[in-house]
Structure formats: C-alpha cells, structure tokens
C-alpha cells in the first residue's frame, strides 16, 4: 500500500532564512503523525506547502504514490487534505450551521448540509447544536465546528495545528477520542504540537524538525518527553531551579472586589475578584480563553481604570486609580496576551519598544527628551540575557518570530525588576527551550521577592510554575488553593464551570 503522503527533499527559502532544508518524511493511511519542533523550526511552512498556501522551491510531494502539485488550498481540499488552524475563522454572530455553510467550496442546500453535519457529528461523537450562535460557544466547541467543517469533505489527511492550546483537560480527552476514531477509519492525521505528553499519548510516529532540517523520525511511545524535547532544541533541557527552603513574605499585591464594566458585545468583564499574592509567591490563574482574562489583565495593568482606589494595593498603597504609567512607577509591570500591537509595536524597532514600558523606571527620559542611547543599551541587555534571536536593538519588532518577540517582551519587563509582575500567557506559542528560560526567569524574580501573577490556559505550565492556583470562569475567580493540593481533574471541572452545564443541556444525542 502506498504512503498517503510522502515528502521528498522539500526545500523552501525566504529572504535571509532557509525555512525548510531538504525535509523528507511520509505518513501512512490511518497513521497519527506528530510534527514537532521549536518556533521557527519550519513546521508551519511545511504544513502550508502541503495545504497549498505556499509552493516548495525544491522537492516532491507524493499523494497516494503519485507526485502532485498543490497549487492552492482548494486544490488541497480536492485531493482530500483538510486543515484545522490554530486560530479559528468563525463569525461570532452567526450560527454553527451558517458558519459551516460559508466555508464550503460547493453550494449545498442548508437542509442537506444540516443532515450531513449531524451525520458527521454522530459518527465521531462531536456534540454540537448546529443552530447555536458561535458567540455562546466555548473555545472547545468552536474548535469542533472547524473539525466538522474539515470532516464534511471526507478528508484522507487531516492537519491539526496546535489544537489543544485552548482546551480544558476534559476537552482534550474528547478531542483525542475523535482523532483516534478518525484514524481507525483510515484518515491520516498530521498533528502539530509542542506538548510532548500529548504526542506520547496520541501519536504513532513523530517527525522532529530543528532549524528547518529534519532531526529524527521516531516512535514517541519509545521516547521520553525529555528525550524528544532535547532533540527538538538540540541541547540538554534545563529544569526549573528553585531556591531551597523558600518562604513567602508579607502580602504584596492585594486585590479586593475588583470589577470592570462590560465593554464589547462578546467581552466578559471581571466580576468582584479578590485575591492576595505574597512577596516571593507565583500566583496562577487558570481558565478557558474568553472568561475575563483580558479584562482582568487590563484592570490590573491600569489600562482599564476602576473607581475604587483600594481595589488594588501594593504593600498597602492603593493604586486602583493610577494609570499604567503611575502603576509602573509604583512597581507593577504587566505583559498582555497579544504580543503584536499590544505588548509591542510591530513597526517600531526593539529599542523604541523598550521606551514603551521602561522609559520611566529606567530613566530613559530627561526633561521630556528621550535618551535613545539608554534605550539601546537596555534593549541590548534584554537581547543578550534572554537569548532573543534578533540582529540587534534596531531590528523591527514585527520581523521577529512570535517566540522571539515573546522572549524580548518578557525580558523587557523582568529586567526592570518589578515588585509585582502580571503576565498573561507568558509562553503561548513559545518553544520548549524558550519557555524553560522564561519560566526560570519568573522563578528567579519571585525568589528575589517579587509577587507574580500568571494568567494562562496551559495547566502544565501553571502546575510547574505556581505556588498557588485559582480558576477564572465567566469573570469570577475560584478560591485560591496551594498548587500541590489540587488535582488536574478538579481544575478542569472549575474551568468547565458554567460552560460544562450549558453544554450538556444543548448537546444533541450522539
């Protein structure tokens, strides 16, 4: 039996980088094949060429044994290649059915389409009501729409790009069920992820890329997570080093009954949240995306101003009415989730981006004039200390890869030695090596006496990093618990919260 998909000597160059250098691997029918690699290793480029978004400079793609040219995504779908992207393309105000209908290449009457959707859902156990509005769905449910959309075309190969980064543990388990069912029926799956235990649990084969080159094709069940991570980053992996006998200090950041007003149509506001972070403590806030995390970060950083001075205090001093600049001067730095356009300006140099948040704390301004030399020196230090891959302080922020930009942003805030640091998704889309470096920097900052709040959807990250954990759901925060005392199932249930209940009542029978 020929391979479903076979790549031979695929090479793709961009100005200045060789994104894929002579990559060859193959996927059998019904195989779940992991594609593993750091950011910038060339996974996305490779997948884009398989799905027809880009064309290889050299090399050959064979489909069921015959060489093919995949000119565009439509041609890919025609061959039987489906793809579920990391970022969904859904209209929130439309229903599930309408969203699927909009994405179809062929026009199908809506009744017939609905019947086919229900058939696919029943076959694979994807519970979803086709008539619900997307805005009312959880992220996991939205992902199911994208999967259903891909499955309607009867794909012989399904590409999944980092599918679990936004799911609760229960939702991940459900997704794996679906993928295993699909594979059992002969559909090949190309699974892109950097979560190694998932790959061990799900995949038959793993292809590891590093710097555009193929490093190894291995059987993940025969490897340890650590051995795969080391192949991926090409070096030994460092564990988080914690100082021995660490003790927490006095309460540093105290938040009491913090609320925000509802702004956007689909934005979840913060609803009377209270918690305390002591000096030296890392406080984790788990939760499924879209449960008020953005509003919470903005309310803490000062981008959204409340009307109660004492809703947020640092060392007993009320900062609730200060703007972001005032709060930074008081020692509170923050890193929002969105890197480009929020935490950094893509069209500005890294040096100019340092001025954005570090100008007052590090004396980059004198009598209204900017000391660009000081900004350049500081940026150089961030680049060196956090191993940011950039040509130098004058590189445009937008020209950095996502992971490198995140390293720069985290470095820019951490090296200001804030007494309180609030970060959202500190390692989202960042590779294992860089994530370990960022985690270590956060632990070191806490050890030096800072209070740190980490808002994240990655439970592994929170459990490895935090001392205390709480869960945010629909803008409300669960009571905080020491991280050693909560099980992953408990957290999962709290994360599911209201969503879990509504989901059950709306679900169609399988």
């Amino acid at each position: 039996m020929p391979h479903r998909l076979e790549l031979t000597g695929i090479t793709k160059a961009f100005p200045g980088v060789l994104a894929n250098d002579n990559v060859s691997f193959s996927v059998r029918p019904g195989e779940i094949h992991a594609l593993l690699g750091e950011n910038g290793a060339g996974k996305s480029t490779l997948v884009k060429m398989i799905y027809g978004i880009m064309q290889p400079d050299a090399g050959e793609i064979r489909w069921d044994g015959a060489p093919v040219v995949v000119a565009n995504p439509k041609a890919a779908r025609k061959l039987g290649i489906g793809m579920v992207f990391q970022h969904f393309s859904l209209f929130e105000a439309l229903t599930v059915l309408e969203n699927i209908a909009l994405g179809m290449d062929a026009k199908i009457p809506s009744r017939e389409l609905e019947a086919r959707i229900r058939e696919v859902m029943t076959k694979y156990g994807l519970l979803l009501d086709p008539h619900r509005t997307v805005a009312t769905l959880s992220v996991g449910e939205r992902q199911r729409i994208e999967i259903v959309r891909a499955l309607l075309l009867d794909p012989k190969l399904l590409i999944m790009d980092e599918p679990t980064s936004v799911l609760t543990p229960q939702e991940v388990a459900q997704l794996f069920e679906v993928l295993r069912k699909l594979a059992a029926q002969g559909c090949s799956i190309l699974y892109i992820s950097h979560k190694l235990h998932e790959i061990k649990a799900l995949c038959d084969t793993a292809t590891i890329l590093r710097g555009g080159k193929l490093v190894d094709t291995c059987d993940p069940t025969q490897e340890t997570s650590r051995s795969m991570a080391e192949k991926m980053i090409g070096a030994g992996l460092k564990d988080i080093v914690r100082a021995e006998g660490r003790s927490m200090g006095l309460p540093k950041l105290v938040v009491s009954r913090l609320s925000t007003k509802k702004t956007g149509h689909f934005e979840v506001p913060v609803d009377s949240i209270s918690f305390t972070v002591r000096a030296g403590e890392i406080f984790g806030i788990a939760g499924v995306a879209g449960n008020g995390q953005n509003a919470l970060l903005d309310a803490l950083s000062g981008e959204i101003l409340g009307d109660d001075k004492d809703a947020i205090t640092i060392d007993g001093y009320g900062i609730g009415l200060l703007d972001t600049t005032g709060r930074r001067k008081r020692g509170l730095c923050a890193v929002p989730e969105e890197r480009n356009g929020h935490a950094a300006v893509g069209d500005f140099s890294l040096s100019d981006n340092s001025i954005l948040t570090a100008r007052d704390r590090l004396g980059m301004v004198m009598m209204g004039l900017i000391n660009s030399g000081a900004a350049r020196t500081y940026t150089g230090k961030v680049i060196a200390d956090f191993a940011v891959k950039a040509l130098g302080p004058s590189s445009m922020a937008g020209s950095l890869s996502g992971g490198n930009l995140q390293k720069y942003i985290m470095g820019r805030e951490i090296l200001q030695k804030p007494s309180v640091l609030v970060v959202s998704q500190p390692t989202w889309g960042v590779d294992a090596g860089a994530a370990a470096a960022i985690h270590q920097a956060l632990v070191d900052l806490a050890a030096a006496g800072s209070a740190i709040v980490v808002i994240s959807q990655d439970l592994d990250e929170l459990r490895a990093l935090c001392d205390t954990l709480a869960v945010v759901n629909m803008g409300q925060l669960s009571p905080a618990r020491p991280v050693a005392e909560v099980s992953i199932e408990e957290i999962g249930l709290l994360m599911g919260g209201v969503h879990g209940a509504t989901e059950a009542s709306h679900a169609i029978p399988a």
């Binding site: 060489p67 093919v68 000119a71 041609a75 703007d323 972001t324 356009g341 929020h342 954005l356 900017i370």
Partner: protein
C-alpha cells in the same frame, strides 16, 4: 508572465525615499501626455510648471513666500497624521488664525510698538487652536469623526470672513470694498531681504520644520504621536491616553495653521480681504504626505508644491494653460504617491505560470 505582490520582511527604507521622487517624475510624464492630448504644448507645460520657477532666479522669492505657509501648516498636519488624527480643516484654522491676528491689528491700529506683532502671532496661534478644539471636543466627548467636523468648519470660517469684512471690520475709507483697512506699519511683517517680497515668515517656516523634526524624533511627545498612530492598543498599554493625544494633535496642527494664517495676513496681504482663503490648508495635506509625515521632508515638499503654484502662474501667461492645471498636477502627485506607497511594505515578484491543480 505574471507579477505578484509579496510582503517584505521589513518595510523598505529605500522605497520610502524613492516613492515621493517617483511620484513627482510620474506626474511630469503623465501631465505632459494629458496636456498634449487635450491640445496644449504638454512638454512646455511641464517645463514651465516644474523648471521655470527654479531656473529663473527672479521667481525664487515667490517660491519662498508660497512655500512658507505650506511648510508651517504641513508640519502641523504631519504631526497630527502620525497619530492618526485626521485634521482636514487646516484651511479653517488658518483662516481663523488670520482673523484673530487681524483683530489685534485693527485694535492697535495707529499705534506703534514692538509688542504688536508678537501679540498678533500669539492671537493667531490661539485662534487656530480654538477652532481646532471644536473637532477635538466633539471627537473625545461624542466620538464624532474629526474628518467631517474639521472639514465642515472650514466653510463656516469662510463665512466668518465675509461677515467681518462687510460689517464690523470694514475699511471706513474703502469706498465700500469688502476689506479691512491696511494694517499700520507696526502690524506688518518686515521683509528680511531688502528689495524683495521675502518676509520674516520664510525663516520662521524653516525654523518650525527643524524644531518639529527635533521634537518628533527625540521627545516623548513625538514618541507618543508615533506610537498612538502605529498601534493604539500598545499606546494605551504604554500609558498614553488616546483622548489626550487627540487633543494634543489637534491643538498643535490647529496652532500651526493659525500661525501660518497670521503670518500671511501680516505679510503678503497686510489687510483682510475676501481672497484671503487660498487653499493653503488643503494643499498642505499633500505637502504633509509628500514629505512622508516627516518635518524635514515637509520642508522639501513645501518647496515642491510652491514650485507648482508659481509655475502654474507662469504657464498661465506663457502658454495659456488654465488655472486649474496647477490643481491637476498637485492631485496627480498625491495620487501617485499614495499608490506608490504599497511598494514600501510589498515587493513585486515575477511568477512563472504554473499548472493549477491535480496530479501531473
């Protein structure tokens, strides 16, 4: 053979300098073609409009006098546009600035003293700021689009001139002409080169450009304008409030337009007349963009546009080109510039024809 636009990794510095030059050259070529087709001497028209003002040294003083207000207004607009604050009503702020200066000149009529001119300049700038604060207030309080309000206020300001010079400020000795009396000596802008019409406003314009360049590139104010325009969300994160930025942008651009207005009325006009609005405020929009929203570039662009004004007048007398020809050339320039700007972020790539899909 096909061409395709491909996004560049970094915006091209070369292209950001090359497109304004290319826009001017393309304007000359297409202008020559258009005017030849409609029966004029096209090549002659381009020569008279773009070259004569430069080769004929007698025209240089006209260039300076025309360029000064364009540069002063253009610098203000370039600062506002950097912050994505679209003040289209510089013409109105220019007019109100001129009227405020006129008010002081008439109040002090017949008096002497060094303080009269500075007071007029101050009044002109405050007048322009006050007029620009109306769109700023509407934008920040009620979220009304500043493009519409600032533009419409321009037409209101023209009516204000007509009212003032027909009734309260009418020249008592003017034999019924709708104009104010000639300013007294102390309220007139001195010429700086004897025997020419080059007045104090010309060096002031250059100074405004240099100071603005320094502030925009070195100060927190300039940083604020750039970051708000490039990424409003990041600006808020960095501690720059959007409303405060809108106010600053409107006041600076309005104040500079008012300054240009008072310098015009105290310099070339020396009295308020119905012909005072000369569309400098609108032409300065082209100047700001042609100068890449960079105050130094605005100085150069102001001279280029002044060339088309002076050259347009030359071409009217020498080859009988209609007055509207100047406007056509200026509009083409802006068109080519904005169209060419795509090459800053994208490159043209030749692509080979390829089989569409399927197995080979």
């Amino acid at each position: 053979m096909q061409f395709r636009l491909e996004k560049r990794r970094e915006p091209s510095k070369l292209m950001s300098y090359a497109t304004p030059v290319a826009a001017v050259l393309l304007t000359m070529v297409l202008g020559a073609v258009i005017f030849s087709v409609i029966g004029y001497d096209g090549i002659g028209a381009v020569r008279e409009i773009f070259l004569t003002p430069l080769t004929n040294s007698y025209k240089w003083q006209d260039l300076g006098v025309k360029a000064a207000p364009l540069i002063i207004i253009g610098v203000g607009l370039s600062i506002a546009y950097r912050a994505n604050v679209w003040n289209i009503g510089a013409e109105g702020q220019y007019i109100v600035g001129g009227l405020a200066g006129t008010g002081i000149a008439l109040l002090t009529w017949g008096m002497t003293g060094w303080w009269i001119l500075p007071l007029m300049v101050l009044a002109g700038m405050l007048g322009g700021m006050a007029y620009a604060s109306i769109p700023a207030l509407l934008k920040t309080r009620l979220n009304v689009n500043e493009i519409l309000t600032s533009l419409m206020l321009t037409y209101a300001s023209v009516q204000l001139i007509y009212y003032l010079i027909r009734a309260p400020w009418k020249d008592p000795m003017g034999m019924g002409f709708p104009q104010t009396r000639l300013f007294s000596e102390a309220a007139r802008l001195p010429t700086i080169i004897p025997g020419t019409i080059v007045h104090l406003g010309v060096p002031i314009a250059v100074l405004v450009g240099l100071v603005a360049w320094f502030i925009m590139s070195k100060s927190v104010f300039g940083y604020r304008m750039r970051v708000v325009g490039a990424a409003p969300h990041a600006a808020r994160y960095g501690g720059f409030s959007e409303n405060r930025t809108i106010w600053l942008a409107m006041l600076v651009s309005g104040g500079l337009a008012g300054l240009a207005g008072v310098l015009e009325v105290a310099g070339p006009f020396q009295r308020m007349v119905p012909g005072f609005p000369t569309n400098y405020g609108f032409t300065a929009i082209i100047v700001a963009f042609l100068g890449r929203l960079n105050p130094l570039g605005v100085i150069v662009a102001g001279v280029v546009l002044a060339i088309t004004f002076v050259g347009g007048e030359v071409a009217q007398t020498t080859i009988g080109l209609p007055n509207a020809a100047t406007g056509i050339f200026q509009a083409m320039m802006l068109f080519f510039l904005l169209a060419g700007d795509i090459l800053i972020k994208y490159r043209l790539r030749r692509v080979m024809p390829q089989a569409t899909a399927g197995t080979a």
